[in-house]
Amino acid sequence: MHGPRTSPTESRSHPGTTDVPLVEAFSHAEQLTYRLGRASFRPKPVNNTYKMDEDQKLSIDELKKIATTLRKHIIEMTTAANSGHPSSSLSAVEVVTALYFGGFMNYDAKKPDWPERDRFVLSKGHAVPVLYAAMAEAGYFGVELLKTLRRLGSVLEGHPNLKRLPGIEASTGSLGQGLSIGLGQALAARVDKTKSKVFVVIGDGEMGEGQVWEALAAASKYKVGNLTAIIDQNGYQQTGATKDVLDMGDFQKKIEPFGWHVQTINGNSMEEVVDALKTAEAVTDKPKMIVSKTRKGYGILPLLEEAGDTNFHGKPLPPAMAEKALAMLS
């Protein structure tokens, strides 16, 4: 079963980077998509907005299968690259899966510049493997491209680069900026009177950046009902547990007084993630926050424990460990 062919041409050229051989190499490759027996995952246009038909919507079980596929991609591509942030990517898999495949986001992988699309901003840009995996499965480009992660010339850079990869909505990697960018996109939709929604995923360590709190206040001022943020509260940041480095404690208590609608959930439960996104969808008069309590490295936790490092920040699994991880996920 094949999904749509994709052609991720470099519509936006990069100064100083004229060659993108790896993209070309894969641009005509077969698109494997999510291998679930569904014909295509492209939402159909309905009344000038793209909506998914009810029968196209995936069940929780199907979403869980995609989540597992994304996890495998994450491990494979970071181990192949011999660098990257697999554990940071793994904690956010359920949220990203639900957004891209649960019918919460309107997009067209074949028309990534469609102005009325919904936007996904990965503020914790170092977790981009989860996003690349989702984009590949959604049909933005071939899954073969994933193994070029971080290689010279590849559009799959170590952090998301809006200029080189269509479908990327924000160039992140310097933590703290994504919510503000998303707010700008939410306001643009207001100016243009479109129905675009914006989703932003933020790290719990990243919440230390003051800019996020600036954006929380401003989003509340403008009552942007089309903005949903998700904190991937996986309990760790680069140099240790968040409770040791900078304990932000209970995000719900801190963010509700900023005028947001806030929910706190188990973000590694697909059921809870889908429910929370539905609840948030129904709130349209203020910005919405989902505090998504997760485990960093979720899916392969026993292996991280075995390795004696349940943070496992910013390092790929060594090949042998990756093999075990893939087996564990199968």
Partner: protein, 318 residues
């Protein structure tokens, strides 16, 4: 003697006022333009636009980082974002946001920094943009514009909105002597020869174009033929104009209301060394913060005057 007086110039609008008027005037035609402010729209003069087009104007409060990234987000959705603050707060307080939310993705954001230079006066160093040109030029792909007077600022505002991609426009607080006609042209990247001459070239921008013109007047009285270039675009630099100056006049003085490091002088020096080495002198703030005081007094005290330019030029001419 007031700036520009010696060369017969009359005081006109401050460049920030000219920008504010132009932005508001262009607002109806340029429907994609939105403004993002950080609680200083009455100082930067985006206020008239915001009053005329309230749905396209956002004031996010005293939060420059958020301000810039919001502007980036708007631009990534097709808007032409004009984001304005004091040069010091825009460039210094939101630099990483400019880098990552604007310059790296190459978005169509117009960065506008008012209160540049020490001529802002009494508020003192915390409010003075003296490093903004260095910082703006250190952002790959960002065009950097420093206008000299009201008319050219109006034209530059339009040119900036027409230009695709990130730009920085540096504006001053005090009234500026009028050098250009009301209907003057403005081409990003193309220096203006505001006075011809063959013994030496004074290259300046911003308020210092008037100082250079005064200096030229004084030098001509002493028998020297002096070319004055308004190098209003620091990036991309007009290499041809600099090379012509080096070849045809053999000596150059660069004058700017900015630190020595990373300003117009450094850009001119690199072009000259690379293409046609000749002696160059520099008139600028050096490597120091200024202080509080009246604007004219500060320019005098820190040597940003026609006299300094005359001295520098005579050093090269002798």
């Amino acid at each position: 003697m007031a700036l520009g007086e010696l060369s017969g110039l009359k005081l006109g609008q401050a460049t920030r006022d000219a920008f504010g008027d132009a932005l508001k005037d262009l607002g109806a035609e340029y429907k994609d333009v939105v403004t993002v402010d950080g609680d200083v729209g009455n100082s930067t003069r985006t206020e008239p636009f915001a009053q005329a087009f309230p749905d396209r104007a956002f004031n996010v409060g005293i939060a420059e980082s958020n301000m810039v990234s919001v502007a980036g987000g708007l631009a990534s959705s097709g808007k032409t974002s004009v984001v304005a603050s004091f040069a010091a707060f825009l460039l210094c307080n939101a630099y990483d946001q400019i880098r990552m939310s604007v310059a790296f993705p190459g978005l169509n954001v117009k960065l506008v920094g008012s209160h540049a230079g020490i001529s802002i006066g009494e508020d003192g160093p915390s409010q003075m943009g003296i490093e903004d040109v260095a910082l703006a030029c250190s952002l790959p792909g960002v065009a950097v514009i420093v206008t000299a007077d009201g008319p050219s600022t109006k034209a530059a505002t339009k040119a900036m909105l027409d230009h695709k991609g990130p730009t920085y426009l540096r504006l001053g607080r005090p009234k500026a002597p009028v050098i250009y006609d009301a209907d003057c042209d403005f081409t990003i990247g193309k220096a203006n020869v505001v006075k011809e001459g063959k013994d030496i070239t004074l290259i300046a921008n911003g308020l210092m174009v008037s100082a250079a013109l005064d200096a030229a007047t004084a030098l001509e009285k002493k028998g020297h033929s002096v070319r004055v270039l308004d190098m209003h675009t620091v990036k991309p630099i007009d290499e041809a104009a600099i090379i012509a100056a080096a070849k045809e006049t053999g000596r150059i003085v660069v004058v700017e209301e900015h630190l020595a490091h990373g300003g117009l002088g450094s850009v001119v020096a690199m072009v000259v060394c690379k293409e046609h080495p000749v002696p160059v002198s520099f008139v600028n703030l050096g490597d120091t913060f200024a202080e509080s005081g009246d604007g004219d007094g500060l320019l005098e005290k820190y040597g940003l005057t026609a006299d300094s330019v005359v001295n520098a030029a005579e050093g090269l001419l002798s």
